[in-house]
Structures are given as structure tokens and as C-alpha cells.
């Protein structure tokens, strides 16, 4: 418990299995405040399941999951966890397609989430300024009144990142943010994430090695539900086991 103190995210000995298949096996990961962590690993390594556990979608069979040094995430559900300050971007960009870009952000904006609070909510100038600011950051200002469904794949990725920003979380879980982006966009994203990680913790899952390199963060390689290697990208990519199991020769 004391070890968890002063960490942003603390996973210790987490295991979960589905119908006998161990998706996560004795996984331990620590993320410090204002730290970026990149997670790589082959398909089926348990990356998404790990995120599911952190965000409350899946309950672990065993192990400790602590947030901000004191909150036990295994006891909470998705909404509570999100409200604690954990934002998540999905592998497949998931935006609300029948809402406009603006509304997508308005919904994500950090505001009271209660029934009556939302029923009687009116956007203040402050809120609108914040949304406009985010729209500029993700470069979607010119499409703010369009339905999210009409965006390209890359734009949806950006919108989702924008929603993440609007949530103003302490910890961001970002699953494959650059799939479908052009090279320059990828670069832009890396830059954005680095900026964010100055004040918040960020966990990025990505296959794109050049992107991971650009993040310049600590790297963890997962395989078969547990940590295979940990360190800088160079250290990890030189690890023979990682080469064997993931990167290939």
C-alpha cells in the first residue's frame, strides 16, 4: 500500500482470466505523476484488457489497482473512475456520430455530470471559449457544426483526443492514437502528448515504433499478460526476449 503512495497509477500482481484463458497474468506497472509511459506488445498481450481493468470495465481476479496513491479502482465503475480523472481514448476511434463536433466536446467538457445538472445546463462563455480552444488545438474548428460521422478516420482520432483534453483528466490512457494519421499528424500528436505529460500522466499504447520513439518516454513491453521488459525504447528493443516474442528478428 505504501508503495502506491505518490504514484499516479499503481498496478500490482493483477490477474484476470476469461473462461480459463489468462488475459492478464500477475501484471505490475507503476506510472508516476506527470510521467508518460508507452506500452508496446504483440496482439493479445493484454494491453486493452489492462486498460479495461484501469477504467473499471473489467474486474481483475486478483491484484491491486490504485489511482493517485489512494483510490482503489477495482471497487469503482467506469463513470466513477472517469470522474476521478482518468480519461481514455479507444483503439477504434469512438465518437458520437450523430452529434456535431462541438457537441461531442461539450459533452466531454469537465462539468457536473448529474441528471439535473445536465438537463438545465447552459454553456457559459467560459465553456465556449474552452471548447473553441480545444477545437483549435485539434484543428477541427472549421468543422465544428458538422456531424462527427462525417469526419475522416484521422479527424475522428483528433476529435477523440480533443474530448480527452476537454475531460481534463489527471491520467490519460491513449490506445493507438495515430492509426490512420498522416506522418505530419503523427508528429503533431506526439508533440501534443509530450506537452500534456508535463502536467499529467499519460499511458500510450502503440505499435508504431517511430511514434513511440518520438514520445521519448519510458517503455513497457507486454506479452501474454505480463511485463516482458521495461526501460527506454532502446533498452527494450534490444532485449532478446522482446525481439523473439514481439519485434521479430
Amino acid at each position: 500500500m505504501s508503495k502506491a503512495l505518490d504514484t499516479m497509477l499503481y498496478l500490482d500482481g493483477v490477474s484476470v482470466s476469461f473462461d480459463g484463458f489468462k488475459a492478464i497474468n500477475n501484471l505490475s506497472i507503476i506510472v508516476q505523476p506527470a510521467e508518460m509511459l508507452a506500452i508496446i506488445g504483440p496482439n493479445g498481450a493484454g494491453k486493452t484488457t489492462m486498460m479495461d481493468i484501469i477504467t473499471g470495465k473489467t474486474r481483475p481476479d486478483a491484484g491491486e489497482v490504485m489511482f493517485d496513491g489512494r483510490t482503489d479502482l477495482t471497487k469503482l465503475d467506469e463513470a466513477a473512475i472517469a470522474n476521478l480523472g482518468i480519461g481514455r481514448k479507444f483503439q477504434k476511434p469512438t465518437v458520437f456520430e450523430s452529434h456535431t463536433v462541438w457537441d461531442n466536446l461539450a459533452m466531454a467538457l469537465r462539468k457536473p455530470r448529474g441528471i439535473f445538472a445536465t438537463l438545465f445546463y447552459s454553456a457559459s462563455n467560459e465553456d465556449e471559449a474552452r471548447i473553441t480552444e480545444i477545437l483549435e488545438t485539434v484543428r477541427l474548428l472549421h468543422r465544428k457544426d458538422e456531424f462527427a460521422a462525417n469526419l475522416s478516420h484521422g479527424q475522428k482520432q483528433w476529435l477523440e483526443i480533443g474530448m480527452l483534453l476537454a475531460q481534463d483528466p489527471k491520467l490519460l490512457l491513449v490506445d493507438e492514437p495515430v492509426a490512420g494519421m498522416t506522418d505530419s499528424e503523427t508528429e503533431e500528436t506526439a508533440k501534443l502528448l509530450r506537452e500534456i505529460s508535463v502536467t499529467r500522466s499519460v499511458v500510450v499504447v502503440e505499435h508504431d515504433m517511430s511514434f513511440v520513439r518520438e514520445l521519448g518516454s519510458r517503455v513497457v513491453c507486454l506479452a501474454e499478460g505480463s511485463v516482458l521488459a521495461e526501460g527506454s525504447l532502446d533498452q527494450v528493443s534490444k532485449n532478446p526476449v522482446v525481439i523473439e516474442r514481439y519485434l521479430g528478428r
Binding site: F18, D19, F21, A23, T48, K57
Partner: protein
């Protein structure tokens, strides 16, 4: 079978006939008088005939009781007509009907039937046919009369067949037990015999208790106490059987839905109508057989099985190709469209066959019941249970062991992948839906044996079917099996306490609560796959 016995009986009696020559005049006259007799007069005639004790009256009385005795309005003659054979009730000779013969049935009512049965029991106790003797002994059991004790003693002494002997001894024991003239010792000795006589022993004993002397009451009470314990056990088992048989009906109705809904994701509200069409197919098949090949009547249900499967399967394929295939991935829309189809099918059947019930006759091998230790099992229900299990395992086999089954599973798991691997997905879709519908048709064949064949037949089962599938867990055939049997047994255990209506409500409430606990049913799939 029964007619066979009767013919045998008649033959035996004919052989004995000369011995009774002396009284034949009387008998013939009495029998002839039946032609014009009112119910009251018939009762007198029957009593008189029975009083002769002459076996020669047996054929006439048997025929009268069975409704096979006719009066020829033209000649006034009384005749026995069975099928196309017409015989004289007294001589047993074949009779050629005149061209202008006009046979009208000599009708009897329940009390006459009872009189006849009692009269025949006395006369047939010494028959050569064990089955006849058995029914005679059972007749005595139903009407215990101390006057018959000597007759029974005589018969017991001569009896060789163990079953018949037991029945006779039971009848005698009961008669003695009820006879206030017999000694207390005799009556007490009769108690254990009566107690061992079968299902109704408790009720017979308790009714014998009313005017019995004290010491007898004590031993009767002891016997009842013992029996009641036994009955509690058998009663529970009987309930299990009722539950299983109700469950197998639910299983039959639901199993096709487990395919169309569970495997394909189509919420087929017209499923009940497929069941209904299966039942109507059975009706048509039986009608055709009755009119053209009456000899096959007993097998009409078996013949109807493939017919119903083909008819409903084809209609299912038609519905899939015509409507459902435009709606894949939109399960809700399939609910609406198939609900519409169900209304159309119902009204179509109503327009063609009319709104009234149609008749499907039970084959002889499905009629009646048997005692299995302490359980009473009706053949109809028994065969439905067997049939449901056969259908279930055949379907399991088809899904898990045939190429079609493999393709079905492939298509439903990943349509695009399956298609790119060369599986003709539209064909597989149509076949899957056809299979589900065809099985519904099979269920319809079985349901002709317990329910109405009317345009509304399907509606009575659709909600129950969905409950079973959802309760068991969508996409899991074993879940459907366990779900159906659980609901059936639970229903039957609730029924005695809560009554049929409240029992059903409780089951629904329990399902609702259960879904809260396990939102995906009894046999839910786990893991990430579920959410996607």
C-alpha cells in the same frame, strides 16, 4: 387391440352358447326390446339381462356399453355394428343388411355404462382371457359388494395369472374391508393388502375409515401414515415428471428460436406462427391419410414430421430471402418485420381454414397412460419428452458435426471473413433460418397432441419461448435445454402452492430478477467477445 379382445371374447362365448339354450328366448326378446326403449327402460333391460347370469348376454351388453349396438329402423332389428361387420347380438351370426336398412345407434348414458360394466364384471370373471378377467377384477374393485366374495374366492382359487390374481385379491381385500359383516380379524388382515394395491390406496383406506370399528381404524391409520410418507416421495417425483414434460414442450417451442434468435440474432416474432403452420401441416397430412390411406392413420404423425419440417423450413427460407436478409445487423427491425409477418400468417391461416380448431387424432400408441412404479405417465407426454430430446441432440449434431453447421457458426461469428473464405453466406443464412423454422414446424407436430390447432396456436408459445432462450443464455443450445427444463419443473412445483395463475406470474418475476443477477442468462459467454 381392444376390438381384437372383444372378437376373441365373442368367439369364446359362442362356444359356450349351447349351454344357455334354455334362456335364449328371453334374452332375444329383451335384446330386441332395446330398439325402442327409453333410457329408463334400457336400464331395466340391462338389469334383467345381467340377472340371467347367462354369458350369451355378454356380446349385447358389451356392444351397448361401447355404443356399437344399433337398431335398424326399417326392420326393428337390434344389431351390432363394428366397422363394416354387422352381427346379431344374440346368435353372433353375420347379418347382411337390407338395402333399405337404416341403422340408428342405441344410445346410453353414464349410469347405464356403469351398470353394464358392473354386470359384465360378474359374468366375465371366469373368462378364458386374462385381460378380460383383469378388467372384471378391476370392476369389482370399483364396486365392492360383499355378495361377490364367494365369486371372488372361486375365481382366486382358479386363477393362474399373477397380475390378475393380485387384482382379484385386492378386490377381495377391499370388499372384506368394507364389509361390516366380516370379522375384525379378517378386515384387519385385509388392510395391508389394500395398502399395497396401488396409487389410490390412501384414498380407498381413508374412505373405508368412516364407519369402521375403532380397532380397525387404528390399523387403517397406521397403514395410511406409512403410505403417506411414500406418497410424498412419489408426489415429488411425479411433479418432476410433470415439470420435465412441460419443460420439453417449452424446449420444443424454444429450440428453433435458439437458432434464429440465438445464432442469427434475428428476433423472430413469427416463430410461433411457424409452430402453428407445423400443426396445420400435421392436420392436412392426417386428413389426406384418413381419406386415402386409412391404414396408415397410426403413423400420420411420423409422416407429418418431414412434411412439417419441409413446409415451415421452406416458408422460413422464403421469409429470410424476402425480408430478413435486408435487416441483418438491425435486430430490432427484424422484431417489427417478423411481428408483421406473424399477423399476416395468422390471418392467412384464418382465412383459409377458418378460425375454429382443427382436429388431429392421437395415434393409438400415444393415447392412454401407464403406471411406472408410483408414477403415472401418459404416453402422449412421454413421447413428446423423447421427441424433444431427439430433436435437441440432432440439432446439436447438425451444428457441431456437419459442414453446414460449421459454416453457420463461421458466418455468424464473422460474416466478412466467412464470405472471403468462399462460404456462400446468403445460402448459409437462408439455410440457418430455414432450419430454425423447420424445427419450429416439428414442434408444431408435437403440439397437435396437447393443444388447439387454431390460428392463435403460436401466440401462446412465443413469449414463453423467448423467456426460455433468454433465461438459458442466448447463443447456447445447452442453455436452452437447461432453461426449458428448469422453468418447466419450477412451474410445476409452484403450481400446487400458488395455483396455476400465480405460479406463472411468479415464474415471470423470477426470470426478471434472474436477468438482473445474470444479465446474459444462465450460460452466458464471458470475456471481451461479449461486448463487441
Amino acid at each position: 387391440m381392444l376390438t381384437h379382445l372383444r372378437n376373441l371374447l365373442v368367439a369364446v362365448l359362442l362356444f359356450l352358447a349351447p349351454a344357455a339354450q334354455a334362456q335364449q328366448i328371453d334374452i332375444a326378446a329383451s335384446v330386441a326390446a332395446m330398439a325402442e326403449a327409453s333410457l329408463k327402460e334400457l336400464a331395466t333391460i340391462v338389469t334383467d339381462l345381467a340377472a340371467t347370469g347367462d354369458p350369451a348376454v355378454v356380446p349385447a351388453l358389451t356392444a351397448l356399453g361401447d355404443g356399437d349396438l344399433y337398431a335398424d329402423e326399417t326392420t326393428g332389428r337390434v344389431l351390432i355394428q363394428r366397422g363394416s361387420t354387422v352381427t346379431d347380438p344374440v346368435t353372433g351370426e353375420h347379418v347382411e343388411l337390407g338395402a333399405d336398412a337404416d341403422l340408428s345407434k342405441i344410445r346410453v348414458n353414464n349410469s347405464l355404462r356403469r351398470d353394464i360394466a358392473a354386470a359384465l364384471a360378474g359374468m366375465t370373471l371366469m373368462s378364458d382371457n386374462p385381460a378380460t378377467r383383469l378388467s372384471a377384477a378391476n370392476g369389482f374393485l370399483a364396486n365392492p359388494d360383499p355378495a361377490n366374495i364367494p365369486l371372488l374366492d372361486e375365481a382366486i382359487a382358479a386363477e393362474t395369472n399373477a397380475d390378475v390374481l393380485r387384482a382379484m385379491q385386492n378386490a377381495r381385500a377391499l370388499t372384506v374391508l368394507r364389509d361390516s359383516e366380516s370379522s375384525i380379524e379378517d378386515r384387519q388382515a385385509a388392510v395391508p393388502l389394500v395398502a399395497g394395491s396401488g396409487r389410490n390406496a390412501i384414498t380407498i383406506l381413508s374412505s373405508s375409515r368412516t364407519d369402521a370399528p375403532e380397532e380397525l381404524v387404528a390399523s387403517i391409520n397406521a397403514a395410511i401414515a406409512g403410505l403417506e410418507q411414500e406418497r410424498a416421495v412419489w408426489g415429488a417425483l411425479q411433479n418432476v415428471w410433470f415439470g420435465v414434460s412441460l419443460g420439453s414442450v417449452l424446449l420444443l417451442a424454444a429450440i428453433g428460436l435458439a437458432i434464429t434468435f440465438g445464432v442469427m440474432g434475428v428476433i423472430n416474432m413469427a416463430h410461433g406462427e411457424m409452430v402453428m403452420l407445423g400443426a396445420y401441416t400435421t392436420f392436412i397430412v392426417q386428413l389426406t391419410i384418413r381419406n386415402n390411406f386409412p391404414g396408415l392413420l397410426d403413423y400420420s404423425l411420423l409422416i407429418a414430421l418431414p412434411a412439417a419440417f419441409l413446409v415451415t423450413g421452406t416458408i422460413g427460407v422464403g421469409i429470410e430471402r424476402g425480408i430478413i436478409r435486408w435487416l441483418y445487423g438491425r435486430p430490432l427491425e427484424t422484431l417489427l418485420a417478423t411481428w408483421g409477418i406473424s399477423l399476416i400468417l395468422q390471418q392467412t391461416v384464418r382465412s383459409i381454414f377458418g378460425p375454429t380448431n382443427q382436429m388431429v387424432i392421437a395415434p393409438t400408441w400415444m393415447a392412454g397412460s401407464t403406471e411406472f412404479f408410483g408414477l403415472s405417465i401418459t404416453y402422449g407426454r412421454f413421447w413428446i419428452v423423447i421427441f424433444a430430446l431427439i430433436v435437441f441432440f440432432m440439432l446439436l449434431l447438425v451444428l457441431n458435426r456437419t459442414p453446414l453447421g460449421l459454416q453457420m457458426r463461421a458466418v455468424t461469428q464473422n460474416r466478412r471473413m466467412a464470405s472471403s473464405m468462399g462460404i456462400r453466406t446468403p445460402f448459409v443464412d437462408a439455410m440457418t433460418f430455414g432450419l430454425g423454422s423447420g424445427i419450429a414446424g416439428l414442434a408444431g407436430v408435437a403440439l397437435t397432441q396437447i393443444d388447439n390447432i387454431s390460428p392463435n396456436l403460436g401466440q401462446n408459445y412465443i413469449i414463453d419461448s423467448f423467456m426460455v432462450v433468454v433465461f438459458g443464455g442466448v447463443g447456447n443450445l445447452w442453455g436452452t435445454l437447461v432453461g426449458a427444463l428448469t422453468l418447466g419443473v419450477a412451474n410445476k412445483f409452484l403450481e400446487p402452492y400458488a395455483g396455476a395463475v400465480l405460479g406463472k406470474i411468479l415464474i415471470l418475476v423470477l426470470i426478471i430478477l434472474f436477468i438482473q443477477r445474470r444479465p446474459r442468462g444462465l450460460f452466458a459467454l464471458k470475456g471481451r467477445a461479449v461486448e463487441q
